[in-house]
Every structure is written in structure tokens, then in C-alpha cells.
């Protein structure tokens, strides 16, 4: 079951790499949040109320509901165009992301470690690199934010792969931090939107030496 979900997760990455509309980015974020909930739910040894609440908060409430809705609000409020405006054609994007996945599979085969579940490791690394690739290859500020969130999802999978439980308190702190950083980034997208009509990184070139 976990494997199926993780493979689905990889497919969402491929889909994100070729999607043309910002909204489909956001739908993919929602789907990723739901998949992550499924994966974590499966991974729970025994169901404790607190653990379940935390997982629910982290995946469903935060990753699948709050953040995507916030992003949608940002897009509507700033009347952003729907195109993602990639630098490269979709065909190449697809090849690059596929390449990333293949390389991470090869890489993780080279790593022999009984403490890591290989499939988690592959998914986590390819998500990380895909997120970085999305940031590098898209023009719009909002897509950078999506790329950052995809990286965060990758980190989440990685933390599952490692399987080392941090104390609850730290978990809460980390979650809160990420939540606030997304919020702050969003606020600044809003502010940038007030000044520039269709914000993309080309207009953020004032500060140079």
C-alpha cells in the first residue's frame, strides 16, 4: 500500500513538471498532502490520539487544505495569469525530472543501509531535486513558492525514511516554523503583487553590485 502511494507521489512530480497552469500545481500540492497522510498513517505502529492528531494536522490540515487555499487566494487576489511560464519546453522538463528520478534510484542502490527504506529515500531525494528544478526553471514568484513547498514535502518523506522520531515538542516547533514561513512568504507575494502587476523574477533585479 505504501509503495503504491509513493509511486503515485512520484507521478505527481512528473505531472507538475509538465503542467501548464498554476492551479494544477496547487491541485498537485493537495494530492501530495493527501498521499503523505496515507503514507504516514500506514507507517504508524499503533494509533495514539496525539500522534494521529499531529499527523492529521501536518498533512491534511496544513499541507492539503490551509496552504493550497492560501495560494489560491494569493493567485485570485493578485489576478495572476494562469500560465506557469517555464524557461524550457515541457518535453525537456519531463526528461529532466525523469532523469532526476533515475539518478536517485541509481544513487540509492549504491547506498547500502539497513536503517533506510530505499523507496522512501528515492522518493524523498527526487522530490527535493524536482522542487529545486521547478524553482530554477520557472519565472513566476508564486511557482517559486510552490517549488519550496514541494521541497518541504520531500523533506517530510525523508523524515519518514529516516524514521527517527523527534520529540513531540520539536515536531510542533518545526511544523509551526514552516507554517509561519509559508505565511510570511505569502504576505510578501501579496505585497509584491501590489507593486508589480504580474510578479516574476525578472522584475526583482534591482539589487546588484
Amino acid at each position: 500500500m505504501t509503495d503504491v502511494l509513493l509511486i503515485l507521489f512520484i507521478i505527481t512530480l512528473l505531472y507538475t513538471s509538465i503542467s501548464n497552469r498554476i492551479l494544477s500545481f496547487i491541485y498537485m500540492l493537495i494530492i501530495q498532502g493527501l498521499i503523505l497522510f496515507g503514507v504516514t498513517f500506514n507507517a504508524l505502529d499503533k494509533i495514539e490520539t496525539w500522534n494521529l492528531v499531529l499527523v492529521l494536522l501536518e498533512t491534511i490540515v496544513f499541507k492539503a487544505i490551509a496552504v493550497p487555499f492560501f495560494l489560491r487566494y494569493l493567485i485570485k487576489r493578485n489576478k495572476m495569469t494562469r500560465e506557469t511560464e517555464p524557461f524550457l519546453p515541457h518535453f525537456f522538463s519531463l526528461i529532466i525530472v525523469t532523469g532526476i528520478i533515475v539518478i536517485t534510484i541509481l544513487l540509492s542502490n549504491a547506498v547500502e543501509d539497513t536503517h533506510v527504506q530505499k523507496i522512501f529515500f528515492v522518493v524523498a531525494l527526487s522530490t527535493l531535486f524536482t522542487g529545486l528544478y521547478l524553482i530554477a526553471s520557472r519565472k513566476k514568484i508564486i511557482t517559486h513558492l510552490v517549488g519550496y513547498l514541494i521541497i518541504e514535502n520531500g523533506v517530510f518523506v525523508l523524515s519518514l525514511a529516516v524514521g527517527n522520531e523527534m520529540p513531540m515538542l520539536l515536531n510542533m516547533g518545526i511544523m509551526l516554523d514552516i507554517f509561519v514561513s509559508v505565511l510570511i512568504l505569502g504576505i510578501f507575494v501579496n505585497k509584491i503583487g501590489d507593486i508589480l502587476v504580474n510578479p516574476d523574477v525578472d522584475e526583482l533585479k534591482g539589487l546588484v553590485d
Binding site: H115, I151, V155, I184, F188, L207
Partner: protein, 475 residues
């Protein structure tokens, strides 16, 4: 105690945030500074004690906490002068003070954190509070700087988190799962080398955004340029020290393992590249504030080299970051006065500063000498020791390059700064030049003199603390 401190400091920060009465700022500032100072003294008296499980006061922590508390006083003074003069709306003043106090609190907590994840959390909070300060001027450029800063910091901090995950993976091989620095140190030899290497790479790269080294230094430059000078002083001194603490603690673990030489290599590469980048920019830069920011990059590069060289370099590195924090924040505070006189940061619009603000100009001259480590600068001592350690470690070629770079930096720095101080301006309207009271420069002078004093005649207790901070590193 630390919980009490965090609680009170956050409460004061909240009071700042909701306060709209101008008369209440000074009492709140005094209250915050008193809390900060008494907390520092308390922690000094309770050295080596663990507080609330996640905080331990060690020698490095207390040294840097002391530095932070000392610098926080002039930071508040200059912030107050700056905000009063600009006549900002009470709302934006409140946000500014709340952010400064939150920044100082979280930096202090990050110094003392004994668990790498706790440190991570506070590092993230510094990003958030710093973003409010960078955006203080509410214009297009500051917005750009803030966006870049928050974004690059968020990605870097995520890197650190990935590093922490790898670290915990490495620790599982040692049969333990407690990510506190003490436990990591105790299990250092049993850690899995492969994951530890990856962890070090990620954590180091992540923290370079805070300490200001290649590759992630860029965000910090924009931040120091666009934030008000008093905030820039905090970014350039104490916040960079927080990045140093992060790198230093993980390096301390690496130094116990067989990967010590490999870690040194990483530090050498990052340090040399940072000095090189600083050299390139300092020779052609036209914005004085950014020039100061690049000078900080150079100093942090030197500190990294000192760590990599080892021996007396460890001592020199700690001494250097403390002295650098005093000197650089003093320069940033002084820059706010330069800006008030000339209303510009560009080197083309400034000159003959001695005529308009003699005290300030003297401070600037002393600050320039201090920052370039020319005696009577206290940094002379630490840089001298750094070069000595590089010599002892037989990095002759590297030392040659570094000395060459530093000479070029003195040339670039001096060219701009001496123009600012002495060259008369041809078409400058002197009628509107603001008279700046000499007493406003007093705090800057105290910081510079403190750096000289600590450099040449360090109190015995200070030396003992520094030696204790590096005691775990191999000779």
C-alpha cells in the same frame, strides 16, 4: 530560567507590537535591555548548567550571549534615534521594535541551544523577525531584498533540516537517537561516516546563509543593505555569529571522527572562495553599506580558514568573531549618521565627512582601521593569530593568496572610505546638512575601544572561556 526569559522577552516583544503610544517605547526598551542583561549575568553565574532540557550554557554560548547583550544596547539607542528622526507611523515603529527584540531573543536562545533541532527552530525565527526589519522602509527595493532573504533563508534552513535528518540516520548506527550535541560528541566515533559527511555538507551549506559564506551569502548582503543601519549592525555581527555557532558545533563533532581532514577541506574551500568574492566586490562596489557587508563576508572567510587550520586558529576564530561583531556593528551604527548627513549610500554623493561631522568621521576612521586589522585594531591580534595558524598548518600557498586578497581589500575599502572622509564635494548643498551631536557617537566609540581592549589585554576570565570553548577540538 530560560523559559522565564523567553516568556518575558516574547511578552515584551508582544507589548511593543501592540503598543501605539510613543511615550511607552523608552520604558519598554529599558525593560527589555534589563531583562537581557540580567539573563546574561544569571547564565554566566550558572555556567555549564542545563536548563529546560534543551539549553546548556557553555563557554561559547556565554561569550556570544555577552557580545549580543552588549551590542543590543547601542542597537536600541540607534534604532530609537533613527525611528524618531524618520517620524515613522507608530504602527511601523511598533513592528520594528517587536522584531528587534524577537531577533535578539531568538539569537540568544540559538546560542545556548544544546540540541541541533532546537537551534534550527530558533534560526528559523531569526529569519522571520529579520524579514520584518528588512521590510521596514516599505519600498520596492526593500521588498525585493526581503523576498530574496526570506526565500533563500527558508531554502537554506530546509537544507539544515535535511542535514539533521541525515545526522540522525548516522546516529542510528551508533545505536542512539538523542540529537543533543553532547550525545553526538560522545558517540562521534560510532557515527556512520557516509551519512555524517552528507549531514555536514547540508548543515554547513544551510548555515552559510546566516554566517555569510559562499555559497549562500547573497541574501545577507541585500538584507544588510536594505535594513535600517541599526538592524544591519545586528545582522552583520550577532546574527552572523549564530551561523558560526551552528557550523562550529557540527564541526566539533566532525573533528572527533576520521573525517576531520575532509571537513577541513570543505571549510578551506568555502573560506577562500568567500574571501575571494569579498575581494572582487569590494574593489568595484559603489554602495558603502554593501561594502561593509562584503567586509563581513571577508572576516567570516578568515574565521573559517582559522577553524580549518587548527591549533592556535581555534582560539583566534572565537576571538575574531567576537571582536568583529563589535567593530562591524560600530561601523553600521556610524553609517546611519553618514546617511543622515549625505542622504545617500553611493560613494559618488559623499565626501569631506570630517567637515560635517568630525566626531563621526573619527569613529569611521578608527572603524576602518579596526575592520582592516591595522593596529590599534583588536582584530589585528586575531588576524595575526589566524595567519600564524595557517603558517603552522603549512598552508603556505593559501596564505599567500589570502594575504594578497586582504591587501586588495584594504585598497578597495580605503579608496572608498578615504573619499568619504576627505575628498571635498563640488556640488553639495551644505545648507541642509544635519548637525549630529557628538554624544550620539559615544556608543560606537565604546564598542571600538572594547574591541581594542579585548584584543590586546584580554581579561583572564575571557581567555579561559575562549580556551574552554575550543577544548574539545583536537590540537
Amino acid at each position: 530560567m530560560i523559559l522565564l526569559y523567553l516568556g518575558i522577552a516574547t511578552l515584551i516583544s508582544g507589548l511593543f507590537f501592540f503598543n501605539r503610544n510613543r511615550k511607552l517605547y523608552i520604558p519598554l526598551i529599558v525593560l527589555f535591555v534589563l531583562v537581557q542583561l540580567s539573563f546574561t549575568v544569571y547564565e554566566y553565574l550558572h555556567l555549564h548548567e542545563t536548563d529546560f532540557k534543551y539549553f546548556t550554557v557553555d563557554a561559547l554560548g556565554i561569550l556570544l550571549l555577552g557580545t549580543l547583550s552588549i551590542i543590543s544596547i547601542p542597537a536600541f539607542i540607534h534604532s530609537y534615534i533613527y525611528l524618531n528622526e524618520r517620524k515613522d507611523s507608530p504602527k511601523s515603529q511598533s513592528i520594528y521594535y517587536a522584531a528587534v527584540s524577537l531577533l535578539i531573543t531568538s539569537i540568544g536562545a540559538a546560542y545556548l541551544a544544546n540540541h541541533i533541532a532546537v537551534m534550527w527552530i530558533f534560526a528559523e525565527i531569526t529569519t522571520l523577525s529579520a524579514s520584518a526589519l528588512i521590510y521596514h522602509r516599505r519600498n520596492e527595493r526593500s521588498l525585493e531584498a526581503t523576498w530574496k532573504y526570506v526565500f533563500i533563508c527558508s531554502v537554506s534552513i530546509t537544507f539544515v533540516f535535511i542535514g539533521i535528518l541525515f545526522l540522525s540516520l548516522s546516529l542510528q548506527h551508533a545505536g542512539s537517537d538523542d540529537l543533543s550535541f553532547v550525545n553526538l560528541m560522545a558517540n562521534a566515533s560510532a557515527l556512520n561516516p557516509f551519512w555524517l559527511k552528507l549531514a555536514f555538507l547540508f548543515i554547513f551549506t544551510g548555515f552559510t546563509v546566516k554566517i555569510g559564506l559562499v555559497p549562500m551569502y547573497t541574501a545577507g548582503i541585500d538584507a544588510k543593505d536594505k535594513a535600517p543601519s541599526a538592524a544591519g549592525a545586528l545582522f552583520s555581527g550577532v546574527l552572523m555569529n549564530m551561523g558560526f555557532v551552528g557550523i562550529f558545533r557540527i564541526y566539533g563533532i566532525m573533528a572527533q571522527t576520521s573525517m576531520h581532514a575532509w571537513a577541513n577541506m570543505i571549510l578551506l574551500i568555502a573560506g577562500t572562495l568567500s574571501i575571494f568574492v569579498a575581494t572582487v566586490y569590494m574593489t568595484r562596489i559603489k554602495n558603502i553599506k554593501r561594502m561593509f557587508a562584503y567586509s563581513s563576508i571577508e572576516h567570516m572567510g578568515l574565521v573559517t580558514l582559522a577553524l580549518a587550520a587548527g591549533g592556535v586558529g581555534y582560539y583566534a576564530a572565537i576571538l575574531h568573531i567576537i571582536l568583529h561583531a563589535f567593530v562591524k556593528s560600530s561601523l553600521f551604527f556610524q553609517f546611519s549618521q553618514v546617511y543622515r548627513v549625505f542622504k545617500s549610500k553611493s560613494i559618488y554623493d559623499v565626501g569631506n565627512y570630517f567637515k560635517y561631522n568630525t566626531t563621526g568621521a573619527l569613529i569611521l576612521l578608527l572603524g576602518f582601521l579596526s575592520s582592516t586589522a591595522i593596529p590599534p585594531s583588536g582584530l589585528f591580534v586575531s588576524e595575526f593569530l589566524i595567519f600564524q595558524s595557517l603558517f603552522n598548518a603549512r598552508y603556505y600557498l593559501l596564505l599567500g593568496f589570502v594575504l594578497l586578497f586582504l591587501t586588495i581589500i584594504i585598497w578597495g575599502f580605503g579608496k572608498n572610505l578615504l573619499k568619504l572622509l576627505f575628498t571635498p564635494l563640488s556640488n553639495f548643498d551644505e545648507s541642509h546638512v544635519e548637525k549630529i551631536k557628538p554624544v550620539e557617537s559615544l556608543s560606537q566609540l565604546i564598542l571600538l575601544v572594547l574591541a581594542i581592549y579585548l584584543g590586546y589585554n584580554p581579561p583572564a576570565e575571557f581567555v579561559i572561556l575562549i580556551k574552554e570553548a575550543v577544548i574539545n577540538l583536537p590540537k
